[in-house]
């Protein structure tokens, strides 16, 4: 059975200018974030969401996590609709959001994880062991008892991943999870993702990183302006260059980086 199912999901954000808008230049109107998006993700699958900024990747993840509700269509997680069964959905889903500082600054990393683990109903007797495990997995064991207000961006990001993992969700949502991570932590994180997938977790990963997509993905969804342009599998051994070329060919965007690489090569 599919773990995550989107059926003709539409999401629009409406902007209403402030009351006394003649003082400013704020514009009204609406942004269509998702247009009748349909897809599904199975247990044990790593689904990569690729697309330019504003394509709807984060919106799709937020709809699964119940942070947002769809305007029309339905989002189901393990059979529960996110509108009618939000509580059941939240028990299955873990999310690591892109905003790094979503922690209590005057608590340590461990105290933050203990707090969220309690709200996520992680059994008390398992809590300490699971927290140690995710701190290890994210390379934060040594900083476990440091107040998070002293953390760097990368450490915040790692802690966000640790928080998502501590409840052992069957659906894991990751929004640009390695954006601020160093190379070694990123490589270790990719291994963790594949291990979780082998344990039958469904993972949806929004990224701009083709190497990441090639390293961990089983399938990719390519979104542009809220529409699904492509839904295809990622072949074993498919390189980041192949994915990159597929991305630019399908979206029609100009690959300036390729031109830049060519120029750098010529200078050398």
């Amino acid at each position: 059975m599919d773990r995550v199912v989107f059926e003709s999901v539409r999401k629009v954000f409406r902007h209403r200018p402030a009351l006394f808008n003649w003082l400013g230049r704020e514009r009204g109107g609406e942004t269509v974030a998702l247009r009748d998006l349909s897809f599904s993700a199975a247990a044990g699958e790593v689904l990569v969401l690729l697309g330019p900024n504003g394509s709807g990747k984060t919106t799709a993840l937020k709809l699964i996590s119940t942070m947002l509700l769809p305007d029309s269509g339905s989002v189901r997680v393990t059979g529960f609709d996110t509108r009618r069964g939000a509580g059941q959905v939240r028990r299955q889903v873990g999310i690591a959001v892109a905003s790094e500082r979503s922690f209590f600054p005057r608590l340590s990393a461990r105290e933050n994880l203990e707090f969220f683990a309690a709200l996520d109903e992680v059994p008390r007797r398992e809590r300490a062991e699971r927290i140690d495990q995710v701190l290890d997995d994210t390379g934060l064991a040594e900083q476990a008892d440091m107040l998070v207000m002293k953390f760097s961006s990368g450490m915040y990001q790692r802690l966000g991943i640790a928080r998502a993992l501590v409840k052992r969700p069957c659906v894991l949502l990751l929004d640009e999870p390695t954006r601020s991570l160093d190379a070694a932590t990123t490589a270790h994180f990719w291994t963790t993702i594949r291990t979780l997938a082998r344990q039958q977790a469904t993972i949806l990963l929004a990224t701009h990183n083709f190497a990441e997509a090639a390293a961990v993905g089983d399938r990719l969804l390519l979104l542009q302006r809220g529409e699904l342009l492509a839904d295809r599998s990622i072949r074993s051994g498919e390189s980041m260059e192949e994915l990159r070329s597929f991305y630019f060919h399908t979206t029609g965007e100009v690959d300036e980086a390729a031109g830049m690489a060519h120029r750098v090569g010529r200078v050398r």
Binding site: F13, T59, M67, G87, F103, P105, L119, D120, E121
Partner: protein
């Protein structure tokens, strides 16, 4: 039940750790409280012992009025601060994706918030009695009943501020209303009978008036539950109407924010 207690413990622990790690804030709060008490004590002395509103010495009258009024304002402000901080730091959205239902989360958080402000109120009243010799003749049962009803009222005000913050990003409007208009209408510093008739009637429509009045009678005059029944019934009525309304308002505002994608707007 165990799970709710476990979550409550986690929230209390978070708030306690956060507040004690704000060491300077802790000390400043206590110093400010003593300075406020001293100001009211000398104000009462300057006015003289002949001024006994509702038959109560003026300093204890002020002590209860200002203590309770501050409790309501600070509790409402604390709810607002919690929501604003969660919106600013991004924890709002994450908290809303945990396995804990949003309403349960708000109620559990409110217990912690109200407990903190209640401790401040008790310290304030105790310091007024111990250091500045305010005469207290408490009827404990009546005090307990007033306290429970006042907590329900504070909860309703706080939740309303939180709902206003989530919907309009303007929960501060309620705190402003409490701070500007309601303090002189709720009998904080003088009896409402001194007001013109029309304003006195308006004061009777404010729940805080009954909370302050009932606390003075129970704590300072030792009056029993039956003798302050009319104030208690008024408080009960306000709580029964305002609390469900506030909870519905919060639930609606969270739903709307999820629909509009404005959960973390501030």
């Amino acid at each position: 039940m165990n799970s709710a207690l476990d979550k409550l413990y986690a929230i209390l622990r978070r708030d306690l750790l956060t507040s004690i790690r704000h060491r300077s804030g802790f000390v400043l709060t206590f110093a400010g409280l003593l300075a406020e008490l001293a100001a009211f004590y000398f104000l009462a002395r300057a006015i003289g012992p002949s001024f006994r509103p509702n038959g109560i010495e003026y300093f204890p009258f002020l002590l209860v009025g200002t203590g309770l009024y501050t409790f309501f304002v600070m509790s409402t402000q604390a709810f607002l601060d919690t929501v604003q901080e969660a919106q600013r730091t991004g924890t709002m959205e994450v908290l809303m994706t945990t396995s804990t239902a949003p309403a349960e989360l708000v109620i559990l958080s409110s217990i912690s918030t109200l407990a903190g402000n209640l401790v401040n109120l008790v310290i304030y009243l105790a310091a007024g009695a111990a250091i500045f010799r305010a005469s207290v003749h408490a009827n404990l049962l009546a005090c307990l009943v007033v306290l429970v009803l006042s907590l329900a009222l504070a909860l309703a005000l706080g939740i309303t501020a939180a709902a206003l913050q989530v919907t309009f990003q303007k929960g501060s409007a309620l705190v402003w209303l409490l701070g500007s208009g309601l303090w002189f209408l709720s009998g904080t510093m003088f009896p409402i009978q001194s007001l013109p008739r029309s304003l006195e009637l308006l004061a009777r429509a404010i729940p805080l008036t009954y909370a302050i009045e009932a606390t003075r009678m129970a704590l300072l005059q030792g009056q029993s539950v039956t003798s302050i029944a009319s104030s208690l019934l008024a408080l009960l009525g306000f709580s029964l109407v305002l609390l469900p309304l506030a909870l519905w308002g919060l639930s609606y505002s969270l739903h709307r924010a999820r629909q509009n994608g404005t959960l973390s707007f501030y």
